[in-house]
Amino acid sequence: MTPVQALDFIRVLPEIVLASCAILVMVAEPFVSARHTAALAWVSLIGIVAAGAGNAWMRRFSGPAFGGSIAADPFASYFVYLLLLAAALTLLGSVRYLETNQVHHGEFYALLLLGTTGACLMVAATELIMIFIGLEISSISTYILAGFRRADKRSNEACLKYFLLGSFATAFLLYGIAFIYGLTGTTNLVQLSEKLSAPGARPPLLWIALILAFVGLGFKVSTVPFHIWTPDVYQGAPAPVTAFLSVAPKAAAFAVILRVFLGGLASAGALVFWLLWISALLTMCLGNLAALWQTNIKRLLAYSAIAHAGYVLVGMAAAKAAGPEAGEGIASVLFYLAAYALMNVAAFILVAHLAGAGERYQEADDCTGLAYQRPGVAACLTLLLVSLSGFPATAGFFAKFYVFRAAIHAHLIGLTLVAVLNSVVAVYYYLRVVVAMYMREGNPRASASPLPWPLGAALALSLVGIFYLGLFPTPFVRLANLAASPLP
């Protein structure tokens, strides 16, 4: 093993910056009076921006670090940007939220940063143990965040449910990792790929390891049937936390699935493909169908998040089916996740605002007539929902288009048909909120106070991003292709 060098530390610069900032915020918290906790938010935001700058700077030093357990490659870099974006938007969305809900705990920001750190480690890890450590760091922080509204029973329930089921799932992942180590003698993805692709080297019990690992990661991305926690947790957790939960750990887990199942374990072809194919099918259909019956916006968006995971899995199945030309499928997955991050975080933080103090107003009907009290807010939510349902000119459409293109290219016509039909079903439930806002008579119960400026800034940023990705996706497609290229 090569000795640790300074270069190794540069290659985990974003994680170091985030972790240091998190510790700083945590230690500073008791010294800051309750009225000034917002200051910690700005410190955290600076930390996130600094981590982003670090991520940009270290592009010149890409390569493996710490004996091959971390890789600073374009793939990791892409995901780190994505995660930082999600964290920054969440942060902007939660500043006033915490004030309205009388939660004066600066630890919120520290935990948010730590959750992001864990997720960043996950996406950069090329070693199963490292992946597990990253997963745990990010999970434990988010478990606590989910229960952050301590006086609220639903929040407690969300926290406990997430914690218990999450630990259960990570145990599966660990068991899978143990199996892989037992079968091949390594946990390094590069070595794993070499060992497995050697002729005649197919350990007999590899399928068990694969399924166990998939269960563990499937929980994090909430694929059906490992999604049951999602609606309850997303509904119970504070809405900005849900925004973060629905994007950051999910994107990170998708990155891990890409690295592990299309990188390290790529030679176990057919099984991986069918795992992805079946979970894509189930996840899309169940997520969308279950969402049809939801009247609670948070729950509705939770099921929609499940459904979106299904579309992402379509892209993965396409990448897997395309064999050596997997790059296109992977790039489509990366693009989709970026679009999804923008739309979903923005939607949840906006819902956090609308739900008012104590998150009392979460029903679609609570927004009745909102369009005439707060036309800007209503238009904003409408645009987000329109993007989520995949209408053209928005990021949601191009992301779907790109994924479906990869799927058709890989001759997954049946799966693509199911996917497009699902997106029609989805229109119905997304529009339910729009109908309430624009077409029903009455006064909104939802908070009609003006948007606080940090939230407004976050939403403006997301909307600009959504339309930029929808209308001029070329630079981003290039980026995604660049990030996807070193993987297979």
Binding site: F397, F401, L421, M439, F472, V477
Partner: protein, 577 residues
């Protein structure tokens, strides 16, 4: 490259942006900005119509810029005769729709006009896009303003109607998206002319079986929009529940997008499949005509009656398209425009009645022509146009379609002709019940007749109806090239009939045409005297042929004593592509 089409498409969107910055209380300002924007767009559209080069095969006013790198999407705009006609229809109806809503839309005026203008951009975009991706973007983006128009300003069941409308259309377009992706995967391009070139080349990249599936995927999307029986159930709901402007645009333009799509994509891209499915589709179209007419007859609600009559009229259009001959096709396209104007006018008239009485039930009216003489006169005029009275626009289209259908299969023609009779029955009966006889209800006695604004709208529409009926040549002439190109793909040889005359059964038909034309003093339908007698009535006038002859390449002149005719031009054009 000029930016004529870009300006035409996005001008309304600029207007919408301006509207967005006007305070919502300044309703008069908002209305005027919207109206002026749509009028400027109309002027621009007329300019486009006049500037359209009759002798130029293929697309005109082309703008082609790369837009997205991978997949290679181009911002590719262009128009042919078909697009030009429908664009003109769109930009004509938009200001009228805005004007028709001047009084009836009192709430949320800002949102209304914003959405109307955005909708106009979407509609124009659909007709000019030559890239499948771009087409799909406009096709779907346009749904959202329409959805809001129905859902916010509609009547009692507006939400149901709006959701039904959007879900039906989305269902079709979802399948179309898969088909587009499949086509892209097979051909490596999303640009329509390039795909067309590959599919019509010696080694098409798609198997006949694949083409059948793709045809169905595209066709389903368009058939829902048309709507073809039995996919029409969204239409009565949407049309009835929509506000006046919504109904006008829905009936006037949105339905045409279905038939436009069939002509633009289904037929040229998958000619083999089109021929295979033509009998089934024709039968469905005939069922649509009869069903729509019969159901119209029993409607107690004026708007519903007009809505169902649309099902019948669009049945005519589809029947004409799938006749695969020049008469049918030109008639179908002409009928698309006629239906847009006439039915749009009917919806506006019904809206005017609704504004006065707040009901649309036929039984509530009666004897109105004594109270509202001007409105009654216009109503009669538009009704007659809709049922296809000679001299008015509806006649030309329906007549040509029936002619084409006869030519394809006499039974279709006969049944379609029954539809014309039925149309006369339900429309005239409706007119009789609403306007003739005694004034039965006291409420109807004190109604005010047309205001100046209303007269303006109705006069404009009546003028167009009359103009299109008396002098269809400027419109039909612009279609020749497009029709010839479609026919060359789907029924090679038929496009010759456009020029060289004498298709089977033509002589009988032309005799009918002659007699009716003489009866109604419609000289444009008279066969030309002399050696040109053999030529069809659709043909170019003698003058324009002379122009063509002069402009033709030397080697084409004097072939068997026949002057150069537009039939050659498109083929030459296609080779050039």
């Amino acid at each position: 490259m000029s930016h004529i089409l870009t300006i035409l498409t996005f001008l309304p969107l600029v207007g919408a942006t301006v509207v967005a910055f006007i305070p919502r209380t300044a309703t008069a300002k908002i209305r005027w900005v919207a109206l002026v924007t749509s009028l400027v767009t109309l002027a621009w559209g007329i300019g486009l119509f006049l500037g359209f080069d009759l002798h130029h095969p293929g697309l005109q006013f082309v703008e082609n810029y790369p837009w997205i790198e991978s997949p290679p999407v181009a911002y590719h705009l262009g128009v042919d005769g078909l697009s030009v006609l429908l664009l003109l229809l769109t930009v004509f109806l938009a200001p009228l729709a805005i004007l028709a809503s001047w009084r009836s839309i009192g709430e949320r005026v800002k949102e209304f006009h914003l959405l109307m203008l955005a909708l106009e951009t979407g509609m124009n975009g659909v007709f000019v896009a030559q890239d499948l991706f771009l087409f799909f973007v406009f096709w779907e983006a346009m749904l959202i303003p329409m959805y809001f128009l129905i859902g916010i300003w509609g009547h009692e069941r507006r939400i149901y109607a709006a959701v039904k409308f959007i879900l039906y259309t989305m269902l079709g377009s979802a399948l179309m998206l898969v088909a587009i992706l499949y086509l892209y995967n097979a051909t490596g391009t999303l640009e329509l002319p390039a795909i067309l070139a590959q599919l019509s080349g010696p080694a098409p990249p798609i198997s006949p079986k694949g083409a059948r599936w793709l045809f169905l995927a595209f066709f389903l999307a368009f058939a829902i929009k048309v709507p073809l029986f039995p996919l029409h159930t969204w239409l009565p709901d949407a049309h009835v529940e929509a506000p006046v402007a919504g109904s006008v645009i829905l009936a006037g333009v949105l339905l045409k997008m279905g038939t436009y799509g069939i002509l633009r994509f289904c037929l040229p891209l998958f000619p083999e499949a089109s021929r295979q499915f033509a009998p089934v589709i024709s039968v469905l179209a005939v069922i649509g005509i009869l069903y729509g007419s019969l159901v119209s007859m029993v409607q107690p609600d004026l708007k519903k009656l007009v809505a169902y009559s649309s099902v019948a009229h669009l049945g005519f259009v589809v029947l004409g398209i799938f006749a695969f001959n020049p008469m049918g096709l030109e008639g179908a396209i002409y009928q698309m425009c006629n239906h847009g104007v006439s039915t749009g006018a009917l919806f506006i008239l019904v809206g005017m009645l609704y504004d006065r009485r707040h009901t649309r039930l036929i039984s509530e009216f009666g004897g109105l022509s004594s109270v509202l003489p001007v409105l009654g006169a216009f109503f009669l005029f538009v009704t007659l146009s809709s049922l296809g009275l000679p001299m008015l626009n509806g006649f030309v289209g329906e007549f040509l379609i029936i002619l084409g259908a006869f030519h394809r299969r006499a039974l279709y023609g006969a049944l379609a002709a029954t539809g014309v009779v039925l149309a006369a029955v339900y429309l005239l009966w409706m007119y009789q019940r609403v306007f003739l006889g005694e004034v039965r209800s006291e409420k109807n006695r004190a109604l005010a007749d047309c205001s100046g604004r209303e007269k303006l709208i109705l006069t404009a529409m009546a003028a167009v109806i009359l103009g299109m009926g008396v002098y269809p040549q400027p419109f039909l002439r612009r279609l020749d090239q497009s029709v010839a190109e479609v026919l060359a793909r789907v029924q090679p040889g038929e496009e010759a009939a456009l020029v060289f005359g004498s298709p089977k059964g033509w002589n009988d038909a032309s005799r009918v045409a002659t007699s009716s034309a003489t009866t109604f003093h419609a000289p444009w339908l008279l066969p030309l005297p002399g050696p040109e007698r053999e030529r069809g009535p659709l043909d170019l006038t003698r003058d324009s042929r002379r122009e063509l002859r002069d402009a033709a390449p030397a080697e084409l002149k004097g072939i068997a004593g026949v002057a150069c005719t537009p039939g050659e031009a498109p083929r030459a054009g296609m080779n050039r592509r």
